[in-house]
């Protein structure tokens, strides 16, 4: 994070030594952690199917990717995530905007959303299975509900806290109707919306894994489950690693550029 902030200084000439230092420290930390893990694994306190070393885990990961099962699993999971999150995003933006701008909806629907947000999204799973059966639709349903409330609340908070001054200035300059929303209310709410979207994303990811642990088609969650069934801790850890890698990549691709833009424009550090 710190390095990112430094990188965002306007037109800083290349990475300076001060910017590199945190990365050097981080690298050192992870190398030491891996060495410790490998050492403990080799010392033989536990059998390798309980605690494999990092080298074994990485080997399993590479194998899984080469065999194609990990790739297929990841594609299936990401497809569900994209569909579920896409639905949440569309619903969340509209509902958040309405709840943020219309007082009656805030008092009624808003309180419901706030209540449902307190419910961990995994709790929807039994109901989803009863309604849809244990299939694709049940999983996507859980993903949608996992992300939806965070997105609604983020959008609503941003819209509600839009300084009235911006709205006055916009009206004064001739903004009318939908343009007020698309060109003033939503952009003004962008920082809060972004944090809602991020939280929604991480909840969607969690709900997906919970659903996939129960549902027997090839997917990331299912690969975790197979690893357990086969007493193969290396596979479980390899899939966990894959999930972390995918999560970080998506964060960097989807949200980081947005966040950078918000920081640059609003001047937030």
């Amino acid at each position: 994070m710190a390095a990112e902030i430094l990188r965002n200084r306007p037109r800083a000439a290349g990475p300076s030594r001060a910017a590199l230092l945190p990365w050097v420290r981080r690298l050192g930390f992870y190398l030491a952690l891996l060495a410790l893990w490998e050492g403990v694994a080799r010392a033989g306190f536990w059998p390798p199917w309980i605690l494999p070393g990092p080298l074994t885990v990485i080997e399993t990961l590479v194998e899984g990717v080469q065999r194609g099962t990990f790739v297929t699993g990841a594609v299936v999971s990401l497809r569900r995530l994209a569909i579920g999150y896409g639905i949440s995003l569309a619903l969340g933006l509209v509902l958040g905007l309405l709840i943020g701008r219309i007082k009656v909806l805030d008092e009624t629907l808003g309180s419901l959303v706030l209540g449902l947000q307190a419910l961990p999204s995994v709790c929807w799973l039994p109901l989803a299975i009863l309604w849809f059966g244990l299939n694709e639709r049940a999983i996507i349903f859980v993903v949608v509900l996992g992300a939806l409330f965070s997105i609604i609340l983020g959008v609503q908070a941003g819209v509600k806290n839009t300084p009235p001054l911006y709205l006055k200035a916009a009206r004064n300059l001739g903004a009318r109707g939908p343009a007020v929303y698309t060109q003033v209310v939503l952009p003004a709410a962008l920082p809060a919306i972004l944090s809602g979207l991020k939280q929604g994303w991480s909840f969607a990811w969690r709900s997906l894994m919970a659903g996939e642990l129960l549902y027997f088609t090839l997917s990331l969650g299912n690969l975790l489950q197979i690893g357990r069934d086969l007493n193969d801790a290396a596979q479980v850890m390899a899939v966990m690693l894959l999930i972390v890698i995918i999560g970080v990549c998506i964060d960097q691709i989807l949200f980081a550029p947005f966040e950078r833009r918000v920081r640059e424009r609003w001047g937030l550090a």
Partner: protein, 283 residues
């Protein structure tokens, strides 16, 4: 230095107003019996006593008074951002009902949009009016140059100083070519030097465009330096206690003795009004 800035401004203004869009000449304003009372739970708080005021086309009128005397409320009502409790406002031939781009209000806080850079802030009103992209970029560029911010087109609001923000706000307002500028203590939060410069530039822009300007301030010298007329308001609930016609030649210089004397006279009236009200409330 201020003189030199003013001269430069006049040259830039002359160039800018030579273009067709820059011609929004002032229209008269007529304020008839406008008053305002705020309802606060069970109390009714009068903010503005009935005001009658005629402002000529292209006239520069300063509303002077202590904070909270309702002069900003009056400006909001003229802008159409706030309804009056009674009375009517006429802009040219039309009665004011809501905002319209013939009257633009400038706020003390500049009210620029932080998600847009300078260029797009200035383009905002033009975009609402449906001007094509290329054309509005050119118009915005011209007004950015007019307020001496060439080179800052891509800057964001947080990168600008208070004075620069007010310049952008002025460019944004002028770009849509209103007939009336309503200015609510636009220079109130600026340091003295920046304020002097911006006053000189505003005077030059006004002289070249002949827009009608209603300018709210609590700074007596500012009012005298800019206004054709200065209207002194009483403390809340505000009413106009005295009217001064300022006949000093333009461009005015803040250190001019005649200006300083005039300011002293108005300041005395302002104090007397404040004391009178204080006495009434202190019973």
């Amino acid at each position: 230095m201020v003189d030199q800035t003013a001269r430069e401004s006049r040259q830039v203004v002359a160039r800018a107003v030579a273009e067709p869009q820059a011609k929004g000449e002032g229209i008269p304003l007529r304020i008839v019996g406008v008053h305002k009372t705020f309802a606060d739970r069970d109390r009714r708080i009068p903010a503005l006593q009935p005001i009658d005021l005629e402002v000529g086309a292209g006239e520069f009128v300063c509303l002077l008074g202590p904070s909270g005397c309702g002069k900003s409320t009056l400006l909001s009502i003229v802008a159409g951002l706030e309804p009056a409790s009674g009375g009517s406002v006429w802009a040219g031939e039309r009665e004011v009902r809501g905002t319209d781009t013939d009257r633009v209000l400038l706020f003390q806080e500049a009210a620029l949009f932080p998600w847009l850079d300078v260029q797009h802030n200035v383009e905002f009103g033009l975009r609402q009016a449906g001007m094509p992209r290329a054309e509005r970029a050119a118009v915005a560029r011209r007004f950015i140059d007019l307020v001496h911010l060439g080179g800052f087109e891509r800057s964001y609001v947080h990168q600008l100083s208070g004075g620069m923000r007010q310049r952008v706000a002025l460019a944004r307002a002028l770009a849509i070519n209103p007939a009336v500028l309503l200015m609510d203590e636009p220079f109130g939060a600026l340091d003295a030097l920046t304020r002097d410069r911006l006053q000189a530039e505003l005077e030059a822009i006004w002289a070249a465009t002949r827009k009608t300007i209603l300018f709210v301030t609590h700074n007596v010298r500012e009012a005298v330096a800019l206004g054709d007329r200065v209207l002194v308001f009483s403390p809340r609930p505000g009413r106009i206690v005295r009217e001064f016609r300022i006949r000093l030649p333009r461009p005015r210089r803040l250190e001019d003795h005649a200006l300083v004397d005039q300011a002293a006279e108005i300041l005395a009236v302002l104090h007397a009004a404040a004391e009178m009200e204080g006495g009434r409330h202190g019973r």
